[in-house]
């Protein structure tokens, strides 16, 4: 399934946050959206999944959704959003319980995604017992359980320390390599963008507009930390964003 943003503009009160955004999310690829803080990238992601409605423009989905897909547009949140009173397996089951699948089938899906994210040994643990990286793994497992057409990731690694971030990036790459999924990945971290993105969309500062779209052709599995080609891409992206980020940083907040 493909997602298309068609002339999206939005304002909160008097503040214009996004202006005239056209963007296509092609099937089976990861599109990273980067931009300075406050450029509306998270707002854009909320539009994509229908959690918010843009003032102007349309969000369109096109093409068949995969078979046995329970929730075509599925989010992974920065703060994990796990229910603290449910175990790891219970948190994953939560999103299947409304689907009227037979219990055995639910159990099979839970076992399968736990195995794919290497969480099988933690199935009965409560979120409070898990580290941040493990919690985000649970959230990824939960997202995979509904077999989404598009994964919408809102700074999924930003709440984690840099070592955990590396490990989880490797996990995401290997998950994608085994079964390519479509994803929109919002981040302010350029290193994550060049590691995970097939296409990187750079937004300008508020009001956010598409400043440039960069394609990276190196296959995900071959990208390594410290790869000179990737470093060059990252440096170029930073050049693009630097002035915008500085200007955004110097803006007075209108609260």
């Amino acid at each position: 399934m493909e997602l298309r943003l068609d002339g999206i503009s939005h304002r909160y009160g008097d503040v214009e946050v996004l202006s005239d955004i056209d963007l296509t999310i092609p099937e089976g690829r990861i599109v990273c959206i980067v931009g300075p803080s406050g450029c509306g990238k998270s707002t854009l992601l909320r539009f994509l999944g229908g959690l918010e409605v843009p003032e102007r423009g349309a969000v369109l989905q096109q093409g068949p959704r995969p078979a046995d897909c329970l929730n075509p547009l599925t989010y992974i949140f920065q703060d994990f959003a796990l229910l603290p009173w449910r175990s790891v397996a219970g948190n994953i089951r939560l999103v299947l319980e409304d689907s009227r699948l037979p219990g055995a089938e639910m159990g099979r899906i839970v076992d399968d995604v736990l195995a794919r994210t290497r969480l099988t040994d933690f199935r009965d643990a409560l979120p409070k017992q898990l580290s941040g990286g493990m919690k985000q793994r649970v959230a990824i497992a939960r997202a995979m359980a509904v077999n989404p057409a598009v994964m919408l990731m809102d700074e999924p690694l930003s709440a984690l320390d840099s070592q955990t971030r590396e490990l989880l990036m490797d996990d995401l790459v290997s998950l994608w390599t085994r079964a390519p999924f479509t994803a929109v990945y919002v981040t302010h971290n350029l290193a994550e963008a060049v590691r995970l993105g097939h296409r990187i969309v750079v937004l300008s500062r508020r009001p956010g507009a598409v400043r440039e779209i960069v394609e990276i052709d190196t296959p995900l599995a071959e990208r390594r930390m410290g790869d000179p080609a990737l470093d060059a891409q990252q440096a170029r992206l930073w050049q693009l964003m630097r002035d915008e980020a500085a200007a955004a940083d110097a803006e007075l907040a209108d609260v």
């Binding site: 959690l51 329970l70 603290p84 449910r86 939560l94 409560l126």
Partner: protein, 282 residues
Amino acid sequence: MSDPDTDRRPAEAAAATGDASAPRPVPYRGGGYRPVHIRGIGIVTFIVLIALVEWGTRTGWISNLTLPRPSDVLATFGDLWTTGMLWTHMAPSLSRLVVGAAMGVSAGIAVGVAIGLFSVVRAGLVPLVAALFPIPKIALLPLFVIWFGIDEGSKYALIALGTFTPTVVSTYGAVDNVDRTLIRMGQSFGLSWVSIVRKIVLPGALPGILSGLRVSLAIGIILLVAAEMLGAQYGIGAYILEAGSLYDLERLFAGVVILSALGVLTSSGIGWVERRLLDWRV
């Protein structure tokens, strides 16, 4: 805790000799301001206070018009126990408390959740609850007798109304405090409204509801005495009122002790439920 003075001594010595280049330990200054669970102090406080009163009444330092002697109160309590009157008074009181509080608390939780979930209900009922809350329910006693009769009905109603308002306030506060990101998550996975309320909102509000219940049930016990002013023959409240009008301090205090024991019991009951149901809390 170690004595901070001993830690400071080498540093002071160095300062005294004026030797600024000598290595000095960094003084510790991070202690305190953190409640620590200490066993037994609570009981010791009770024992010391009671012993003080016992000693004071025996020596005549406290006149027996001011306070009864604790050992006499205990003897009165023993009488209550052996004559079986304790149960005669406890049974009706407990049933009034249980029935009244059950009605008030369940209605309160239902209304509180409705206020938390529906803006129309909130707009309509929050001012009403704010108006009801500060009314001393005891002032409405005559009305309750007219409305619900002189029997158990008016007693149930008084306790129910008294526990209802605080439960409503704490419940809708608890629902308001449920983590919105969890609700957003539920919506983003396409969960039904019923599922979101049952699996996300209610468990998320449970800690706040339970801690509100402590207050509500304590108010219920207070109102028990008021309810039994309505011509009850038996009951802890009736027992206390009768003792009070006869200025029988031993019996008055025996009744008061039973009420506080009831308070401690309900509070520790809620504590037990919290430990069972809320072990997921960090």
